[in-house]
């Protein structure tokens, strides 16, 4: 089983949003692995553990710091890691999808996983676009993937608590919503060991694509209203909360 996981490095704006011009000030933020990609890697390693095979993790190196994420992937059970040396922090997801597809093309993948979306643009296009470039079917929003022979049983969740299982013939591309288990912990000693011993394969970016969209303006959200703090003893506060909920038809 040859599984390829396409990952995305994104600016961490958990704390605040530094802006420069009409984009994020990429020099003032740390880059982190997209949270959904952590699930993609976990899903791939779980399948490898169940049926054997290899897991290759590939990502676009936007700022020259992707190695940390790749070493982490190796410590979690990936076998091979590849970085596309783009050095372009502003590359959008369409461009990244093109570069990723070109890099993945010759890998002979049975399955390609990508996080269903990333929290920086919530674009959700990397998976579908890779599938289109590679001429493979795409299934998005997966919550569990099990493989038997040349067929995968793919679970998806729908609104309202409805779940569905699909039988998908390999090869295919999946947009991973979540792995069936929380992403495993990689001990720092293993990550450091990987940093010292592992080889990160480098690939030059190839091909051009664009979403056709341009940022007109970027700004941190403007605070328009503040939360109302309810004063008083816990009992008084509780009574006021109940009153508020009732007056708004919520209780």
């Amino acid at each position: 089983m040859n599984i390829v996981v396409a990952i995305k490095h994104i600016p961490s704006i958990a704390d605040d949003l530094p802006v420069k011009g009409n984009n994020v000030d990429f020099d003032s933020v740390d880059f982190v692995l997209n949270e959904w990609d952590e699930h993609s890697i976990e899903q791939a390693v779980l399948i490898k553990e169940a049926v054997g095979g290899t897991v290759t993790v590939v990502g676009v190196d936007l700022i020259g710091e992707l190695d940390n994420a790749l070493h982490l992937a190796l410590a979690k059970g990936a076998d091979k890691v590849v970085k596309i040396t783009a050095d372009d922090p502003a590359a959008d997801s369409h461009q990244q999808a093109k570069w990723l597809a070109e890099a993945i093309k010759g890998m002979g993948a049975d399955m390609v996983f990508a996080g269903v979306q990333a929290s920086n643009d919530i674009d959700g296009q990397i998976g579908p676009m890779i599938a289109a470039y590679l001429d493979m079917p795409y299934i998005g929003g997966t919550s569990a993937i099990e493989v038997s022979g040349s067929t995968a049983t793919v679970s998806k969740e729908f609104p309202g608590g409805v779940g569905m299982k699909y039988a998908v013939t390999l090869p295919f591309v999946a947009g991973v919503q979540s792995a069936p288990k929380p992403p495993r912990y990689a001990p720092v000693s293993k990550v450091r060991q990987m940093a010292q011993t592992a080889t990160v394969e480098k690939v030059a970016p190839s091909g051009e694509a664009s979403s056709g969209l341009a940022f007109k303006k970027m700004a941190p959200p403007v605070v328009t209203g503040h939360a109302e703090m309810i004063e008083g003893s816990p009992k008084e506060v509780a009574a006021k909360i109940v009153e508020l909920l009732k007056s708004r038809g919520l209780a």
């Binding site: 704390d15 982190v32 912990y185 001990p187 720092v188 000693s189 990550v191």
Partner: protein, 426 residues
């Protein structure tokens, strides 16, 4: 009753007949199959074969440890029990018991066989982590935060010294001072980021200023000591942080390091030397007790409170400091100091050590109440209206615990905050 007692001497008899029955029982069982127990010594051997966990096999089941184990007080635990569970089929590296020990070291104090859980637990946990076994989620999060952001709370590194804005006194950053200082004050993660920890940090800054101490902090260069992460089994993370911290400490000239927290004291004094760092480090209570003559005239305002003091495990049992905190509290005019039943060497653990700080929900699932709640109840039972602490883990733990046990009338305050109140009259 002038009779002289003699040692009882056992008398063996072949048989004895009571009420017509031969009670030796030879007539019905002496030639029968006797009950045979089957044990699994390999699960004891599995733990004892891990480097640093060898003493696990020393246990001879005397149970002295169980009497002092803080987890057993609120649950079913203790080194003796762990040995017994292992004997009857528990693989410690996969059991929830692996995560309940707080490394408080009270068992080691009473153990005649030197079964050392302070070494056994980190070693067994490290093995479990390296083998990819179950790690409680909240602990995993603290590990990941420490590795990513330099502190277990997951707060941004560049805001590590943001607290100094609220101190109201100058807090020099050593990088900006540009000259050697007497005291490098290692603030610590919780005093830097946690709202109640910041209160203690601000109090310390005011006290150091009032005493005219020539001090500086590392500011944005300071990162977590990671000792509790080590005790929770993440030795690789600890080593990574230790390498960074030692290099940072050695960048600057200073005579003595003062730490806010006992866990940092333990790290820098007892563990970092193994990694090449050997410079003087003291806890703030020891440091301030040394300046008591200068400090006393500053404590102008009475604090009319009945105070009980909780000995932090890593200040007391692990580092032998019991008197300095009490001297400081007694120096505050108006203070009446009362002791809880379990104090000093037998102090009860707050549950925060050995990674317990980040296992609160997990531990709560396996105990009848939190250790901090048990201790808060003990504090309240002395009639005290202040529970004084000297460890940054404790303020938040006990503040929650006095609320959840219905003892809100007990204020949880760091000794730094009490000294500051007496100094400023609030």
């Amino acid at each position: 009753m002038a009779q002289k007692y003699q040692k009882a001497v056992a008398v063996e008899k072949e048989n004895i007949v009571v009420d017509g029955v031969d009670v030796s029982g030879h007539w019905n069982r002496m030639f029968e199959q006797r009950v045979i127990f089957e044990y699994t010594p390999e699960l004891i051997e599995k733990i004892a074969s891990i480097p640093n966990a060898e003493s696990f096999a020393n246990c001879y089941q005397c149970a002295k440890c169980v009497a002092v184990c803080p987890v057993d007080v609120v649950g079913n635990y203790g080194p003796r029990k762990l040995y017994r569970y292992a004997q009857t089929g528990m693989d410690l590296t996969e059991a929830p018991e692996l995560w309940l020990c707080t490394t408080c070291a009270n068992c080691l104090r009473v153990c005649p066989k030197e079964v050392n859980m302070v070494k056994i637990m980190p070693a067994a946990r490290e093995q479990a982590i390296l083998e990819g076994k179950f790690v409680p989620n909240e602990l995993q999060q603290a590990f990941e935060n420490t590795a990513k952001t330099g502190n277990p709370l997951g707060q941004p590194q560049r805001k590590r010294d943001a607290w100094i804005q609220s101190a109201g006194v100058p807090v020099p950053i050593i990088k900006d001072v540009g000259r050697p200082v007497d005291v490098l004050w290692y603030v610590g993660s919780y005093p830097s980021y946690h709202p109640r920890g910041i209160d203690a940090a601000c109090a310390a800054a005011r006290i150091f200023n009032a005493l005219g101490i020539d001090f500086a902090i590392l500011g944005k260069e300071e990162k977590d000591d990671a000792d509790s992460q080590r005790l929770a089994g993440e030795k690789g993370l600890f080593e990574m942080m230790a390498e960074y911290n030692i290099a940072t400490f050695n960048k600057y000239e200073w005579k003595e390091m003062v730490v806010t927290g006992p866990h940092e004291l333990n790290a820098f004094k007892n563990v970092y030397p193994k990694y090449g760092f050997e410079r003087p480090v003291v806890h703030y209570t020891t440091f301030l007790a040394r300046h008591l003559d200068q400090l006393k005239p500053l404590l102008k305002h009475p604090v009319n409170k009945k105070i009980t003091y909780h000995d932090p495990c890593y200040l007391g049992r692990h580092n032998g400091e019991y008197e300095a905190p009490r001297k400081l509290l007694e120096a505050i005019p108006g203070v009446e100091l009362v002791e809880m039943q379990r104090n000093r060497e037998n102090g009860y653990c707050c549950g925060g050590g050995g990674g317990g700080m980040w296992l609160d929900s997990f531990t709560a699932q396996h105990t009848t109440m939190r250790l901090s709640e048990k201790r808060a109840m003990e504090a309240a039972s002395t009639g005290a209206n202040v529970l004084a602490v000297a460890c940054p883990f404790e303020v938040s733990r006990f503040t929650d615990a006095v609320k959840s046990t219905g003892n809100e009338h007990v204020d949880v305050l760091d000794i730094l905050e009490l000294l500051d109140r007496s100094m400023r009259g609030e």
